[in-house]
């Protein structure tokens, strides 16, 4: 079983990202479970959402403590929250930032950064980075394919909004594919 923890701020779509990644992974043939950290839903406050991926039905109901993967939607969170907490060697952290991240990275954890805010501003016209980071997650981890993410997006959104989000996901996917392969 693999586990993903998404860090974001209320309003950035962390819970939606967890749901869409779960839908895509399920379509890709995995058993999944996605859920939010319960109770904190204020806009701007630090929030978390989780996804479990498994070859078997997921029975475990505890929160995620030792994630294999972490997505950080807002690098300003790193000052307030230990986003790397519980990560093990071999883990992958995907962080939305323009600057390199060096401090606080546990031994053996691979950090991959992407400027998801700029991508989202250019494609959506809004600094909502969840769908960009989904694309980056797919490229960096291979846990979901780009195609299943597109299906999940089409299932959730319609019309122009779907197409814009697919473009956001695609750009981040392609950028991260190069980056993850190169570093």
């Amino acid at each position: 079983m693999q586990e993903l923890r998404i860090h974001g701020r209320g309003g950035q779509g962390s819970v939606t990202a967890a749901e869409l990644i779960a839908v895509a992974a399920f379509e890709g043939g995995k058993y999944v479970q996605a859920f939010p950290a319960f109770g904190v839903e204020r806009r701007g406050a630090p929030v978390q959402a989780f996804v479990r991926f498994s070859d078997h039905p997921v029975r475990l109901r505890s929160q995620v403590y030792t994630p294999d993967f972490v997505i950080v939607q807002d690098s300003s969170l790193i000052q307030d929250v230990d986003v790397f907490k519980g990560m093990q060697p071999g883990g992958i952290a995907i962080i939305n930032t323009e600057r390199p991240i060096e401090q606080g990275v546990p031994e053996g954890v691979r950090v991959l950064t992407i400027d998801a805010t700029t991508i989202a501003l250019e494609t959506l016209g809004l600094p909502i980075t969840n769908t960009a980071l989904m694309g980056a997650f797919a490229a960096a981890t291979g846990m979901v394919s780009f195609e299943t993410l597109v299906d999940a997006l089409r299932h959730r959104f319609s019309g122009l909004l779907a197409e814009k989000n697919i473009e956001t996901t695609r750009r981040a996917f392609e950028e991260m594919k190069v980056k993850a392969g190169a570093s």
Binding site: A18, E19, A22, V23, F26, Y31, V32, Q33, A34, F35, P36, F38, G39, P57, V58, R59, L60, R61, S62, Q63, Y65
Partner: protein
Amino acid sequence: MALEIMEGSIAIAQAVRRCRPQVVSAYPITPQTHIVESLAEIVANGELAADYITVESEFSALSACVGAVATGARAYSATTSQGLALMFEVCFNMAGMRLPLVMTIANRALGAPLSIWNDQQDSIALRDAGWLQLYAEDNQEAVDLHYIGYRVAEDHRVLLPTMVCFDGFILSHTYEPVDMLSQEEVDAYLPPFVPKYRLDAANPVSMGMYATPDYYLEFRYENDQAQKRALEVVREAGREFGKLFGRDYSDLVESYRMEDAETAIVAMGSICGTTKDAIDEMRAEGKKVGLVRIRCFRPFPAEDLKAALANVSRIAVLDKNISLGAGGATPRGAVALELKDALYGTSTPVLDYIIALGGRDVRIEDIKNVVAACEAGDGDRFYGLRTEVL
């Protein structure tokens, strides 16, 4: 079987739609809200031919259901925690008037102090109200228990309202795969409601009259007899469901890896999923541990539990509720209290652990710690108490 992935609350709303209630009345409250929001949409979209009665409180929501079922309609409601507490009076009336209903409880702690998080104190507090109570481990079971719930509640041997309890947030807000039966499949399993008595101007009857001391005791006897008959009706309905759809719910208690188990855990609801994972790990380490999960708490399956636990050396109960003041010098939850009653006369020690109240997370390690404590004879206590903040 075609699995789909969706949020637990949405799956419940979809299951309720397939049960074809003619009246839905509910008042939104966290973490039940997504269920009734979704149903309001389903009704507004014309996907369910029901009257959706919006009300100003849970008291009114359940009262509207009482009226609806009294006229012979199938009705539905959902609530949790303080909302269920506000329904207290109506709950007793509904069972006493023998009006069948299915109401979803997205289990949540009761205030004060205010908590929106999960435990099972809310439905447990209503265990004497005369309703049937079924507890789900996962969203698939939560969905299926709605179909089974209506079938049992409306059975003329029972005619009692039913709470389908699933853990708030932990299940209600979780996306996971569920197999949603088609409308045709549900129709084949769940026939339309045929009331035994109903309010009808052409054939007037009175319901909910007062009973003098000459009759009240007999009403209560009848009510209890209906609960007792429900033991077999739940088994039948669960067996029939299994025959049609492959998921058998005929057991009122589920035994997991109980063959040769020396220590048994007894619990209800979603904590049992984590417990099963913990048991697999402990079994791999050579520990003889099993789980007996109570699916049906009302009626209480005393004989089933006695049989399931006949050969164990010790029992650890995980109680996500507490009966404040019970147990003498040590704390006690409802599951342990009732289990001890069922096992009276046997010598198996039953140790109770008050756990996971108000949303405190439970990990695999916690279950292992409980088993180790039980083996050492250390129980009848709160688990995970943070003594530093007392």
